[in-house]
């Protein structure tokens, strides 16, 4: 088999056993890899109604057919589970060397079930002479407990005495089951959203170390190599210049000018301190070095260092992205770049999603200013917008579930349920997942994407904002085209996240679907057309939704926070612009229509049959050798 191994390693932490489960060719072709294959496996392996932090909830690490080909940006993997933050699908991507080691060690996926009795390091090692033979060890990890994510990774490598091991681990936030804890790998890269780290923590699994030898073979090596050279050349063109020069931090100043930079918990969409924390300014004043993932020609990462280098209170340097910058800066009213850098470093070290951490803090700051949280609640911390010291202190408390941090560790939706008094209106989340840095009132197509994407408010699974940042639509108004645009953008992202290509490469393709289908065929030897690939995207999007429906999704879950539907924007070029419930419902109806769903957002049997997503069709995609043991 080329591009795949046709099998997944299943490890049961409760029984301390492992086995290989076969994955049929139909499943691989239909769901590709990454997020798509992971969604399929999650649907099969997660029992309906599983408690997210219970032992039955599986944690999946999934590779892709492109991993190991050395094609630019392809060293990526997906992590999936049922989210403790949302109760729905959790699907995140991370990247770099771990992706290749995962494929060489565990086949197409590592599926972790059960829970260990105590802190555990899961060590999986292949045999160099007999690659199919693997050794799985469940090692005591008491010595790792409490260590930050970076220290944990370094300690594991030192303990194993082999730096070629690749390690995924959680920080203290994952151990404390903070609902938006992340999983870290390769020196600070994060599978960040939806609380994957909390699930890993609930299994007493502090780290996974992989070292494998399975061969990664492609069907047409010369063709893949030649294509790779051409794609690498294109990846260095103007289409990626933004990411190569400033990285995603470049968004801050532009979004501020366009009135789309969420500020002080989405009360405003412009920030008076935006220039101080802009990518351009940070590039000038705080850049330590550039970096990139394994096998990437773009190199979008910007490592920033605070002027006080942490001031003896922890790391003072961090890999900075727009989303961390917006969430820990403007969203909390903070314009001091040293504070934002230290805050992002704290989140990475504790192992917390910077978006959810920042957005939950912004919610708490508003509660404090409204008098719903007091000094008695915060331990005397003046949790006001713009108070950098309060931001840093409370982040630490969240990661360790200390004091007010214990409440905030539940995320903004759950915290608002406890605090009450109308504070849900400014809990800026969808389906429980805190919103990214895209103001929906001035980006109407993105508003629809944020409301409908299965994992909750997300800019990675829906790129509907691309239409808003173009001449295709009027971003400040609503029309009947947005449903189709949003559905197509989700399907596009689904294919991108399943092959897996980096999102920053997308404009380097002449024709994304044509080229990707050709590459898929070169790698796997299986003929696939551009139309087949589009269909895969639609199938994956529908299966995500099907998982959510199974877990209790209702029409009421596709919405936006009350603030965005009741308060017009007060500042900037979009001042006075709002988004009414009627306009959002109009767009949602158009989206359901474009998807072929019912008016209530359910998937008709005919659509499921068309996409081979009926229970019987999904069952037939299980391997024919009868060895697959799905729950």
């Amino acid at each position: 088999m080329y591009g795949y191994h046709g099998k997944a390693l299943v490890v049961d932490l409760t029984t301390r056993t492992h086995r290989w489960d076969a994955i049929g060719g139909d499943a691989l072709r239909n769901f590709i890899g990454g997020i798509g294959l992971g969604t399929y496996l999650l649907y099969r392996y997660c029992p309906p109604g599983a408690e997210p932090l219970g032992p039955d909830n599986p944690l999946l690490f999934v590779g892709s057919p492109l991993v190991g080909t050395r094609l630019t940006t392809s060293s990526k993997f997906a992590v999936l589970t049922k989210s403790p933050l949302t109760g729905f699908i959790a699907d995140s991507l991370s990247s770099s060397h771990l992706a290749t080691e995962l494929k060489k060690c565990c086949g197409d996926a590592l599926i972790i079930v059960g829970a260990a009795a105590g802190p555990t390091l899961l060590r999986i090692e292949g045999d160099a002479l007999e690659p199919d033979r693997i050794t799985v060890k469940f090692e005591d990890a008491s010595d790792l407990a409490g260590l930050g994510a970076a220290a944990k990774e370094a300690t594991v490598k030192e303990r194993l005495g082999d730096t070629r091991y690749r390690v995924a681990c959680i920080g203290p936030a994952g151990e404390a089951q903070v609902k938006f804890a992340s999983i870290s790998n390769d020196g600070g890269r994060q599978a960040g959203r939806c609380g994957l780290g909390a699930v890993m923590g609930s299994k007493n699994l502090l780290a996974v170390a992989l070292r494998g030898h399975l061969p990664v073979e492609v069907a047409q090596p010369d063709a893949v190599r030649n294509y790779g050279k051409d794609l690498s050349r294109r990846s260095l063109g103007a289409a990626t210049e933004k990411y190569r020069n400033l990285g995603t931090m470049a968004n801050v100043a532009v979004f501020n000018r366009l009135g789309t930079l969420p500020t002080r918990n989405f009360r405003e969409s412009t920030f008076e301190g935006a220039e101080q924390v802009s990518g351009e300014e940070l590039h000038r004043s705080h850049l330590q070095r550039n970096a990139g993932c394994a096998n990437c020609t773009i190199g979008c990462e910007r490592i920033l260092v605070s002027r006080d280098k942490g001031n003896g209170k922890g790391k003072g340097s961090v890999r900075m992205e727009y989303e961390s910058l917006f969430a820990l800066g403007p969203l909390c009213g903070v314009s001091d770049p040293d504070v934002v850098i230290r805050a992002a470093a704290i989140c990475d070290d504790l192992g917390m999603d910077t978006i959810s951490a920042g957005a939950t803090l912004a919610w708490a700051m508003e509660c404090y200013e409204q008098g719903l949280l007091t000094d008695a609640d915060t331990g005397g911390v003046e949790l006001r917008f713009g108070n950098g010291d309060a931001l840093l202190k409370t982040l630490e408390d969240m990661g360790h579930r200390r004091g007010i941090g214990n409440l905030l560790a539940e995320g903004s939706r759950a915290a608002a349920s406890v605090v009450g008094h109308g504070s849900k209106a400014w809990a800026m989340q969808v389906k429980g997942l805190e919103m990214p840095g895209y103001e929906p009132r001035s980006l109407k197509t993105m508003a629809l994407g944020l409301a409908t994407t299965p994992r909750g408010a997300c800019h990675n699974r829906s790129s509907a904002y691309e239409a808003d940042f173009s001449d295709r639509v009027d971003r400040l108004s609503v029309d009947e085209t947005r449903g189709r645009i949003t559905a197509d953008s989700e399907d596009f992202e689904a294919v991108l996240d399943s092959l897996i290509w980096c999102k920053f490469l997308r404009k380097a393709f002449h024709d994304f679907y044509e080229e990707s289908a050709q590459v898929y065929s070169m790698v796997t030897g299986w003929e696939l057309t551009a139309e087949d690939l589009r269909r895969c995207g639609e199938r994956i999007s529908n299966l995500k939704k099907l998982f959510n429906i199974r877990e209790g999704w209702t029409r009421a879950d596709d919405t936006l926070p009350p603030r965005t539907l009741e308060e017009p924007l007060p500042t900037g070029v979009a001042a006075g612009v709002g988004l009414s419930r009627d306009d959002l419902d109009f767009m949602i109806a158009g989206y359901y229509g474009a998807r072929g769903w019912t008016g209530d957002g359910l998937i008709p049997e005919s659509k499921l049959a068309e996409l081979a997503l009926t229970e019987s069709a999904l069952g037939r995609q299980v391997a024919a050798n009868g060895q697959t043991r799905f729950r």
Binding site: A239, T248, A250, V254, L258, E466, D468, S470, V573
Partner: protein
């Protein structure tokens, strides 16, 4: 503007890579009337030659792929021509909006 004015005065606001290469956040330009896309690009290249290859095509025919103009922070301008009025602001930004 009245019909006898020979130029249109506009401001080009720079973001990201163009800002770094120009060493400025904005450039004031006088563009021959009636102002058009081509005239704007030519005037910008003349005033900020460091933008060639970093937002502007080397042959000064247009923006590079991957860049776009936005008018006054509101409308994104496509590939076609456009006209400008005195006092307009053009935002020169990357068309790669993700992050």
């Amino acid at each position: 503007m009245n019909g006898t004015t020979a130029t249109v005065r506009v401001c080009v606001e720079l973001f990201g890579t163009p800002r770094i290469h120009a060493g400025a956040t904005a450039v004031e330009l006088a563009v021959p009337h009636p102002a058009s896309r081509g005239k704007l690009v030519a005037a910008l290249a003349e005033q900020c030659p460091t933008l060639l290859g970093h937002g502007l095509k080397e042959d000064i025919t247009d923006l590079e792929d991957g860049y776009v103009f936005n008018l006054n922070g509101l409308a994104f301008l496509g590939d076609g021509d456009f006209t400008l009025a005195d006092g307009d602001s053009l935002l020169l930004i990357s068309s790669q909006s993700g992050g």
